[in-house]
Amino acid sequence: MKANYVIVGAGISGCSIAYNLAVKGIKDIVVLDKSYLTSGSTGRCGAGIRQQWGTKMNCLLAKGSIEFFEEAKETLGYDGDIEFKQEGYLIISANEEEDEQFEKNVFLQQSLGIPSRKITKDEAKKIVPHLNTDVIVGATFCPTDGHLNPFKMTDAYFQAAQRLGVKFYFNEEVKDIVVKNRKIKKVISTNLEIKTRNVINAAGGYAKEIGDMAGVDIPVYAENHEILVTEPVEKIQGPMVMSFAKNLYCQQVPHGSFIMGRSNPDVLHNHSNESTWQFLDEMSKTVCEILPVVGNLRVVRQWGGSYTMSPDRQPIIGGTEDLKGFYLACGFSGHGFMFAPMTGILLSQIILKQKTMIDISDLQLNRFKNKQVFTYEKSVV
């Protein structure tokens, strides 16, 4: 079979790219996934969406994406409920150094039109009454950050893309990308052989392996980040509560359950999605200190998913110098879900050689060439 574009990965990034290309009139788009819809990082994510970042690019990607999410249900014509909630992110500073950094972050965010603000302990307590303010110095708050259901949001893109003629093939693992004279010839998957000149790598945790198949070195790696969910209860918390120093994010989703996660500084670089008792112990200690009342809730389930880390903790969105027709949307470093609308818009603009909505020269793969030291995004749990 033949295709104009083959997208590898049916997570939110792949579905968003497929939709954006199709809506611009591109035909013969095929999306391949090694498993089912949202089976990878998207379906395992913490479901938060935020604009409070420390780098300009991340701020702009997040801001544009939230603007899309606000209208997503109508834009994509989705019948289901995407469970969109905009009740903010409360990011607490646990020491003076962090508090000073937050001052700079808010200054940057406000300069880009993001409605975040620096607030005191007392103001934070008013926003989340069960917050233990004894262990914090201050906080920042952005009221338009929030939550979305990752399965439903991806399903919305998936259905809209299908209506525009995009073909999805599940349980189709890409095995090889055949390249001759620096041109893509075909993609070989479990049961298919697809002749194509263009491949879009939106493979999440497996982006590096897909790059290797095409002979393009992508400096990213996957690492397991664990997460848990409690039984659902009456609503007591509006915003996501987050701390980088304490290593925590915790939000009550519209369904009523609390979702929370933290990272493990010693995690190995691999594709593990295992659940560990060590995470459960550390997570319990952390959340009971910062949000003591949440300690009364029962954990019903825990799981893991890959963050795909790039050297500067910012995504790689664009084409490649060495291989014509090979495009990347990877290295989101844990934030591919919330950036997906902009990922789809920007990559489709690059592919169709249109002017991009924002300048994304800083997101190109070649930024890592001959570079050993990076200033990187620190606002990551």
């Binding site: 969910v229 459960l280 112990d281 949440v294 300690g295 009364n296 029962r298 954990v299 019903v300 389930r301």
Partner: protein
Amino acid sequence: MNKKDMIICRCEDVTLQDIHDLMDQGYTSVEELKRILRIGMGPCQGNTCGQLVQREVSKYLNVKLEEVKTYKVRPLTTGVKLNSIKEGANHES
């Protein structure tokens, strides 16, 4: 009995009709049904609905029951309070 009145997932109030509607739309794996309907995500973690959903998918696709993959089993086996886990962890260290 009407499919709308037959509860398959008691934790999340999902009916047989809900499941059939989604299968008609093409979501025929147990994992996909779980993600869209939350079946198996409640306090019982699929202990009640898991086999029922597996049987429905098997009937719908006309394949043998043992060929229908059911949910991946995730910890914990029963709900435990975060406070209790914290106390246990402190006691051990």
